[in-house]
């Protein structure tokens, strides 16, 4: 919380008059005005028991950016704003009020509360300067505001037995078609969508640079060692089916591994948990052997189905590891609790183990039990790097740009926020509000 006695209006500071605009228009001008007001206010004094006066500049309007059934009242701060005095919000149906004193009291609170700056509205929807009083009345307990009905509404100041009621003003609650508070969210969605589209279309036209993923070097090394030892290679594609991006990535990387095993003439074992994934992987392996120029070495049963049950599958694969003692184990794709059971057995046989998964809950175990781990998005990146498919590469690039933007916002934002505190200024909010989740 900043500001000492900010709520009390100092001498000479202007009250913003004029029509209340609820849209975005005009907010910039208002904002600078607000900043000027607020900074000029820091040295005010609270007077105790200032005599009561009529609440000034009472304005009421339909609360913007909501689903209806709500009105907002604004009025100017007064010298008597303190915990000792109280404000009442009064309401009645219809446009004429015979006796304001008989209006229904719908809210009552200490006079030093409910300022515009306490509301969560960002600068582009703030109806007026931060020092003004604001109260938003909603349909709920004891009050019912019907959309389309005109209400008279006013504010009374109360101190001890004294009660001063301002002239009632009229307003009609209405549902709105746009929540302007969330417009930053919408802009970001559109911006990011545009970036992704742009990146994908660029990737379709020309090669986009992707850095080499170090884990892929480890893959080659592991296969080389398996060849030296004359032992097979074990490759797992994870627990999910082909609709999961991590399985697709695992299948793409399998293509690369299969090409190498074909070139080195090393045995490849790929036990599966899902029949469809198995069929897809058979195709990929076959293609890889063809590309490596060794179609005769391809065996259909290097890809085989075990069972879809989690622990039975694990027990079977563990059995393979212990019997065949593969020189390298690859764990790509999505994994659950079985991850540890697999990698631990693999480590005990002395195999080189390389993992790649986006299952973050299993990553710690992969990192400690495997020689190399592709962490989270690295798995997708590795697959995009190998496949060079424009949509994949483009998406990766688009996300990179998104991340760069966020990094920039973090840096600039922190700088501005710090300046804001040091200089006791409000203008950094102009930027910071853009990246706030406000409703």
């Amino acid at each position: 919380m900043r500001g000492k006695g900010l709520g009390v209006k100092g001498k000479g500071s202007a009250v913003v008059q004029g029509p209340v605009v609820s849209g975005v228009a005009g907010s910039f001008a208002r904002f600078f005005f607000l900043a000027a007001c607020v900074t000029g206010l820091s040295h005010s004094v609270v007077f105790a028991q200032t005599p009561l006066a009529l609440p000034q500049d009472v304005r009421a309007f339909d609360t913007p950016s909501d689903g209806g059934g709500s009105l907002t009242v604004l009025w100017s701060p007064a010298p008597y704003d303190s915990a000792a005095a109280r404000y009442q919000v009064l309401l009645s149906e219809g446009t004429t009020v015979p006796d304001p004193a008989a209006m229904k009291v719908v809210a009552e609170f200490p006079a030093n509360q409910h300022y515009v700056r306490e509301s969560k509205w960002p600068w582009w929807t703030r109806p007026t300067t931060g020092d003004q009083h604001q109260f938003t009345l909603r349909s709920g307990r004891g009050v019912e505001l019907k959309d389309g009905t005109t209400y008279s509404i006013t504010v009374a100041a109360v101190q001890n037995d004294d009660r001063k009621i301002a002239t009632p003003v009229q307003a009609t609650p209405q549902p709105n078609w746009m929540n302007w508070n969330q417009v930053n969210n919408l802009l970001l969605a559109l911006l990011f969508g545009g970036i992704v589209f742009y990146a994908i279309s660029t990737a379709r036209k020309r090669e986009i640079f992707l850095r080499r993923i170090p884990g892929l070097d480890a893959v080659d090394e592991a296969i080389g060692r398996a060849t030296e030892l004359g032992k097979p290679i074990l490759y797992l594609t994870g627990a999910h089916d082909m609709s999961d991006p991590s399985t697709i990535a695992a299948a793409v990387i399998l293509g690369r591994v299969a090409k190498r095993t074909a070139a080195y003439e090393t045995d490849l074992l790929v036990p599966h948990r899902d029949p469809i994934t198995m069929a897809v992987c058979q195709e990929i392996t076959k293609q890889a052997y063809l590309e490596a120029g060794k179609p005769d070495l391809y065996k259909d049963d290097s890809n085989f189905f075990i069972t879809s049950d989690q622990f039975s599958y694990t027990a079977a694969v563990d059995g393979i590891m212990l019997r065949k003692k593969p020189a390298a184990n690859f764990f790509m794709g999505a994994y659950f609790a079985e991850a540890l059971l697999l990698t631990e057995t693999g480590a005990s046989t002395g195999a080189i183990q390389i993992a790649g998964t986006d299952s973050d809950h299993q990553l710690p175990f992969f990192v400690t039990t495997c020689d190399y781990t592709l962490i989270g998005e690295e798995l997708y990146a590795a697959s995009a790097y190998l496949s060079r498919e424009p949509v994949q590469v483009g998406t990766l690039r688009g996300q990179d740009i998104g991340k760069a933007l966020i990094l920039g916002v973090l840096g600039i934002g922190t700088l501005l926020a710090t300046l804001g505190v040091m200089l006791d200024a409000q203008w950094p909010q102009l930027f910071l509000d853009l990246f706030k989740d406000v409703k």
Partner: protein, 216 residues
């Protein structure tokens, strides 16, 4: 025909996707009403989706039994237990308890499903222990950092650890609250960008794997 089979589904995705993304920004009661109805629909469709998931299991095991593949006896056990549970469940009106007294369905749930499912994951405790002894090695500087952090958190989260090494409590609190939170936040932001990108690609039919196989 191609239009009906290929274009129309993509069009449905495009329209529903845009409409429900836009709905978020529209507070009007009409838009809220639409959201209410459609989420209710999604609940019902969700029920059908469960049937879909279950039926593939039916299929796999039915084949096993029919062909008398190795271990078909277990598939038989699976079938019998499933049909038995369904019969008992329907007989008990799908309620585990009526006014606090257990039904036969509740009995199956409490004395079969709960211990079975609970134990399935409890055995992992043993495997973690054996892995701790055999393979949690500081192979690299990174793995060493991981293991040290893990040991501190393990100490700090149990009374004995805090008793033996009083600072471990505060230290693990700091690791979780500051270091861990910052990393998780970065991951969350990265994953969210991925989610949004994927959703956009799906809506604009650049990503179609969800439509699955099936001949055109």
């Amino acid at each position: 025909m191609i239009f009906l089979r290929r274009q129309v589904p993509l069009l449905i995705t495009l329209i529903t996707g845009i409409v429900f993304a836009a709905q978020y920004y529209v507070p009007h009661p009409a838009s809220e009403q639409m959201l209410t109805s459609v989420t209710k629909w999604l609940q019902i469709i969700g029920g059908f989706a469960l049937v879909l998931g279950v039926s593939s299991l039916f299929h796999v095991h039915a084949i096993k039994i029919r062909r008398k593949e190795a271990g078909w006896g277990y598939s038989f056990v699976l079938y019998v237990s499933m049909l038995g549970t369904i019969a008992v469940g329907l007989w008990s009106n799908g309620k585990e308890a009526v006014d606090g007294t257990m039904t036969a369905f509740g009995w199956i749930y409490n004395f079969m499903m709960v211990p079975l499912q609970g134990t399935m994951f409890a055995i992992l405790a043993f495997f973690i222990a054996s892995a701790a002894y055999r393979s949690f090695r500081a192979r690299s500087r990174e793995a060493a950092v991981l293991l040290i952090a893990a040991v501190i958190v393990m100490m700090g989260r149990v009374p004995l650890g805090e008793y033996l090494l009083p600072i471990s409590g505060d230290l693990s609190q700091w690791i979780l609250n500051v270091l861990n939170a910052s990393v998780r936040r970065a991951i969350l932001i990265g994953v969210s960008l991925g989610t949004v990108a994927l959703s956009i690609k799906i809506i604009f039919s650049m990503e179609r794997s969800y439509l699955g196989g099936g001949k055109e």
